[in-house]
Each structure stands twice: as C-alpha cells, then as structure tokens.
C-alpha cells in the first residue's frame, strides 16, 4: 500500500499546542511568581480567607482557547455589606492576570462569567475584596490535556 504522509498527519501530535497558539513561549516559573505578586498587590499583603468565593471552571478544558469561568461570591450586596472587586489570576500563562470584576450594591449579586485562555494546566485563583476590607479566596486546577482516548 502507499503511505501518504500528509501535513495533516504531521499535525497529529500538536493538539496540545493549539491552546498555546494565542501565546508565545511560556515560562511557568515567571507566571507563578507573577500571579502571587498580583495577589499581594491586590490584598496589600493581607492573607485572604478560604471561603465565600465559588469558582466554577471545568476540571479539564475542552478548548484551552476559550474556557468558561464563573465566579460568584456570597454576599448580601447591600449598601452596608458588599463585594467591591474580584481579581482572577492563573499561574500557567505568560502573565498571571486574567480579569478583575468590579461590583456595587446595584450589582445585586457578585457574579460574573467570562471565557479565558489557558496555555497549560494551571491553578486559577479568585480573590474577592469586601467593602469592609476583608478578602476571601478560592482556587481550582484546570487541566489542559493533549487529547484523549476515553471510552
């Protein structure tokens, strides 16, 4: 039989590279440092408390170019008690920052959803700042795989 080696065949092994297409080469060490630094700046060095924040992300990304992310923070969202900002960072992209959401009591709920790019498997962290100056946090790992054989 004839063996045809096509460009498509050659592309076979590059599934994992797709998600990285939007970025250049990545230094994970730098990204991890960057995200930790961003958190420190955001909280003014204060350690955020685990809890109140729900970070909804898939465990395994279907498409690293567009991963749906929902963050929701428990809060009455009243004039007296509300979430002012939520910072979202990741430790596996060229830059740690992903998005910052700004809320007011008029938001009614501290909830936002967007889609993010993930160049590699990484931990995503959301930190919520309350109007009383306290901080809450949640993290989740999202796996970016080469491609599967499940079934």
């Amino acid at each position: 039989m004839t063996v045809r080696l096509t460009r498509r065949n050659a592309l076979e092994a590059s599934v994992g590279a797709l998600a990285m297409a939007a970025f250049g080469a990545i230094s994970p060490v730098r990204a991890a440092y960057d995200s930790a630094d961003l958190i420190r700046k955001f909280t003014g060095g204060k350690a955020p408390t685990e809890g109140k924040v729900k970070l909804d992300l898939p465990e395994i990304a279907e498409n690293g170019n567009t991963v749906p992310m929902t963050v929701a923070v428990e809060s009455p969202m009243s004039e007296q008690s509300y979430v002012t900002e939520v910072l979202v960072v990741g430790d596996g992209n060229p830059n740690g920052g992903m998005a910052t959401f700004h809320f007011t009591p008029l938001s009614g709920a501290a909830e936002a959803n967007t889609r993010i790019r993930l160049a590699a498997t990484q931990n995503i962290t959301a930190i919520a700042k309350m109007n009383d100056g306290s901080f809450y946090t949640a993290s989740k790992q999202v796996k970016v795989t080469i491609g599967g054989c499940g079934g």
Partner: protein
C-alpha cells in the same frame, strides 16, 4: 449445539455456598432457567430498569470482563476496582459458575464454551416485558444510560439508526449519551427528536450563550411517586472524542448544575431523584458524596458490572455492565420523599436460557438484513482469545497494533484504550463483524507520523493522568493507550509527568531516545482532517494475510504502585 450447551448449563454445579444475591445462588445451583433468572420478589412502589453501554450490539455476545481495573486514591481496592478471584471472593461467587463467567475474566475461554453468549436485544426485550408484566407498567421506569448507538458495523453504517429503531420497541423512558455524539451534532439532534422519549443531558450547553442544548430532567409519575430523572452525558466527550463533530456544544461535570437541577426537581415535588449518568463510576461516587438529594445514580461509561449496589451516604449506585450482557432491576419503596427499602438484582441475559422476544428478534433481523452476509464473512481465524478489557493491554488491541504497524510501516503503534469491543474465542473464525465490533467509529483513519521519544513519553503521561489522577473529577474513564513495539513501566501512584519510566523500543531492545524521531501509526485521532485508511481495513488485510493469528499475553508493560 444449543442443546448440549443447555445440558452443560444445567450441570454447572458448584459448591453449595450461601450467596448474598438471588441470581448468583440460582446460577450456582444445578438449574438455570428463564423463570429463575428473571425471578424477582417485588418490593415497594417503584421499579427502575437500567441498561447502558450496549455499544451497538443487537445480538448476544462473548465479552470478557477486565483482568485489571485499578482504582487510585480513595477508590483503591473498592468495587468496581476488583477483578478475577478477588471479585469472586468479594461477592461470594463460586469459581467456574455462570456468575463467574458473566462477571469476571477467570477461565473465560473455557467457560464460554459451557455458558455461551450473553445479551441480545431480543433477550433484553423478554426481560423488560416480564418485569413490566409482573409490576405493571405504571410502576416501571426503563432507562438507557447511553453508548447505545455506536460500536458495530451496522450502527456505524446507519449512523445509529439500527439501534434507535430496535431500542424504540423497548419503549425506554429516557436516555443520555456519549459515543452518540460521534455521529455529529446534527445527527444526534435528528435521532434524539425521533426517539419518542427524551434525550436528557443537564451538562451540555452551547458554546455561544452557555444555554442548555437538551432537557436537563424529566418528571415521571410511577407507583404514585413523583420521580425526577436527570440526565448527565459523558462530561469529557469533547476531550476524549473529536470536538469538531460537536463544535458548538460544551460538556463538563458541572457539579454546580447537578446540584441546582436536583434542587429544582425537589422544589417541583420530586419524591425520588434518579441521576441517569454517563460520568463513570468513580466520578459518580465522588458526586454522590458531594451533592445531596440524589437517591439513585444509574452509572455507566466505565462498563462495570456489579452484583450489588454501592451505597454512598443515602445514594444508591447501580453498575449495569456493558454490551447488553445485563439488565439491572432496582425495586424501591419510596415513602415521604425518601427511599425506605430497596431490592436489587443484576440480571445476566444468558442467551441460551432466556427466550428471544419474537417481535424484537424480527426487528433485529430487519436491521441486520442489509449487512448480514458481509458481517458473517470469515476473514481468518484466531488461535488465542481476543479481548479488549484490561488497564494496559488487550489481545485484540495487540492485534490491531501489529496490523497498523505493519500495514503503515511504523516502528511503534498506538491504539486507544477503549473499553468497548466484543471478544473472539480461541479456535474460532474472525469475521468482518468481529473486526468492526472492535473498531467501528466515525473517525477510523490510521495516521502515520514521526514522534520523538520525548513526545511519546508526554503522550503516555498525559493519558496515564486521565486514568490515574487521584481525583476522579479529572479522570476520563477508558484504559491506557495500547502500545505496539514499545514497552514501559508505569507507577500508577505517582503524579502527572512521573508515572512512566523505562521506555523501551522493543524491536531493538534499546531505551527510547528522547530526541530521536520514531515512526508511529495510530488510529482514532481526535483531530479534524486526519488522513489514512480506516483501521478495520488494515486489520482485515493483516488477518487475511496471516490466516490464523496468535496473540500472546502482553508483558511489555510493568505496573508498580498499584
């Protein structure tokens, strides 16, 4: 033949053990009749019947259960992660009994001669009708966990139509899916709309507005009980199978949505909440421990057949096996919105014992008619048992690896760790049907490419983490990618990137070199536009050329840390 087999079934005596389950006791005795196989003392007000992972099999099959099915993390050593003799001991099943044959790989080839094939939609029809007749239809829900429309030549050629046409006659109440999606979004919608019962999937949303694509649940009234059936499709369909076939659908476990749907159903008055799930057993076990309010999870995907329900808190987990070998019956006594009592049996559909339902038998004959001559054609013979199940290797996959490596002139062959595919007994013919039962997919192209040793390790590490990540939510089910021409050691207890060692190029006996390029052939690529001949064609050529194949047990994968 059938007669002598019946005789064998009747003399399949075993030790007079007291067994926990009705049917294992029956099978261990010297009688095996339809009446006894289907016997069930009714309990309570609701009966759930469940099948899953039929994989396109309309006819009775030989299907060897796994000899290796490792669990990691908290699931280590727990059912369904026990096999062989351990399984028999755990469930009190005598060796060489019909139950041992149906549920394990022990003495499979020999016992298959005695007990024959299992399954067939016409036998299933008999069992379903019997349960409905005994209980009254108003008390019975019949649910299909999916992976129904794919896995055979006829299913592939008709894009699932043969399965849909036959399954409709069983009048299921709902289904969910996984391999169904490999017929593409449009076809799935078309077939789902034609079913006459709902295709449920609470975890599929469109990628644009993130809105539901299928109904999340349906309310039923059975035995005076308000029942919510929630559907959960295979969460990693777009990762494990080609995403380009369903480009605008997004899946995922979506635990938050499961919780929300359970709450909605309860608010609407559901007294019993049933999750019809294609998550896989360990994912469901974790889900049950984290989401309150699910009474029953009908599990699937990982193809486990368990003779008892597994309880996680108040949730009952049912595992009904695959390829049509079993139907599960779960009777429930539901009072004041809670399950007060239950009775369960995993019913093996021994094809020589259960009479085929004539209406279904006729429908199956109609569905197979266009292909029947082709299916029966003998391509060659096998001297050894061909099977697929096992964490790291199966003889059918070894055969596929040999065939594609040789036909595409590659040093190394990769074959996906699918868990579907029927077994072929030693000394028998390999037919066109057998080959397609192990290969019938909509993306069958066998690619050839070069990969560096480093890249091969990366691929193996990636797949290994999909199987052995200690957190079930990060597992995709299935088994390890099968390697031809490549040996390795795997430490399943290690973490991502450090499980695989000792990679060896088998032909030369030398360690795999990280920087060297190796020619690799493989099939079932999830990438769009992959080119190459269909895998069944290469297997067919190989078997035809070799006339009789013999596949020794694969010893090139060493497992540690299990």
């Amino acid at each position: 033949m059938t007669l002598s087999r019946r005789e064998l079934l009747q003399i399949a005596a075993a030790t007079a053990a007291i067994l926990p389950n009705g049917w294992t006791r029956v099978l261990a005795q010297q009688r095996l009749t339809q009446a006894e196989l289907l016997a069930f003392e009714p309990l309570g007000n609701v009966t759930l019947l469940h099948v899953a992972d039929m994989h396109g099999q309309l006819m009775p099959v030989h299907f060897r259960e796994p000899s290796s099915n490792l669990g990691v993390g908290e699931a280590r050593g727990l059912p369904p992660h026990i096999t062989g003799k351990d399984f028999l001991t755990r469930f009190g099943i005598p060796e060489k009994s019909a139950a041992a044959y149906a549920l394990t790989s022990e003495d499979f080839a020999a016992l298959a001669q005695s007990y024959g094939r299992i399954g067939g939609l016409d036998r299933l029809a008999t069992a379903v009708k019997a349960a409905r007749a005994q209980r009254g239809e108003e008390k019975v829900l019949f649910l299909d966990g999916g992976d129904t429309w794919q896995g055979s030549l006829a299913a592939n050629r008709t894009r699932g139509q043969d399965m849909v046409d036959c399954f409709k006659l069983l009048k299921p109440d709902a289904m969910t899916g996984h391999w169904e999606f490999t017929y593409g979004a449009e076809r799935v919608k078309e077939l789902a709309d034609s079913l006459g019962f709902p295709f449920l999937a609470l975890n599929i949303r469109d990628t644009e507005w993130q809105e539901p694509v299928f109904p999340a649940y349906k309310m039923f009234e059975k035995g005076g009980v308000s029942i919510a059936v929630l559907g959960q499709a295979f969460p990693y369909t777009p990762v494990a199978n080609p995403r380009w076939m369903i480009p605008t659908w997004s899946f995922g476990i979506r635990e938050e949505d499961v919780r929300g749907t359970v709450e909605t159903a309860r608010r609407e008055g559901a007294q019993l909440v049933v999750l019809l799930s294609h998550n896989g057993f360990d994912v469901d076990r974790k889900l049950a421990s984290r989401v309150a309010g699910i009474d029953v999870i009908l599990t699937s995907h990982t193809h486990d057949a368990l003779p008892e329900v597994v309880r996680v808190g108040k949730t009952l987990l049912v595992a009904s096996g695959s390829h049509g070998k079993f139907v599960s019956r779960l009777d429930l006594d539901v009072q004041d919105g809670a399950v007060k009592d239950f009775r369960y049996r995993l019913i093996p559909l021994f094809a020589d014992v259960i009479a085929p339902d004539p209406e279904m038998a006729a429908a199956i004959a109609r569905a197979r008619a266009p292909f029947v001559a082709e299916l029966a054609r003998e391509v060659g013979r096998t001297a050894s048992l061909l099977y697929r199940r096992g964490n790291f290797a199966g003889t059918f996959d070894d055969l596929i690896c040999r065939a594609i490596a040789e036909e595409r002139d590659a040093e190394i062959a990769l074959s996906p760790g699918f868990r579907w595919g029927t077994s072929v007994l030693p000394g028998s013919a390999i037919t066109i049907e057998d080959i397609h039962n192990a290969t019938a997919i909509t993306y069958p192209q066998v690619y050839r490419q070069t990969m560096t040793g480093a890249r091969l390790k990366e691929v193996l590490e990636d797949v290994a983490d999909n199987l052995f990540n200690p957190d079930p939510y990060y597992q995709q089910g299935g088994d390890m990618v099968r390697c031809g021409g490549l040996g390795y050691t795997i430490d399943v207890g290690k973490s991502m990137g450090s499980r695989i060692s000792g990679l060896t190029h088998l032909k030369s006996g030398r360690p795999l070199e990280a920087a060297r390029e190796y020619s690799v052939a493989g099939w079932a690529s999830v990438n769009e536009g992959t080119e190459g001949p269909p895998v069944w064609e290469l297997v067919q050529k190989y078997v035809a050329r070799n006339k009789t194949v013999k596949v020794e047990a694969n010893t090139s994968v060493k497992v540690i840390g299990a």
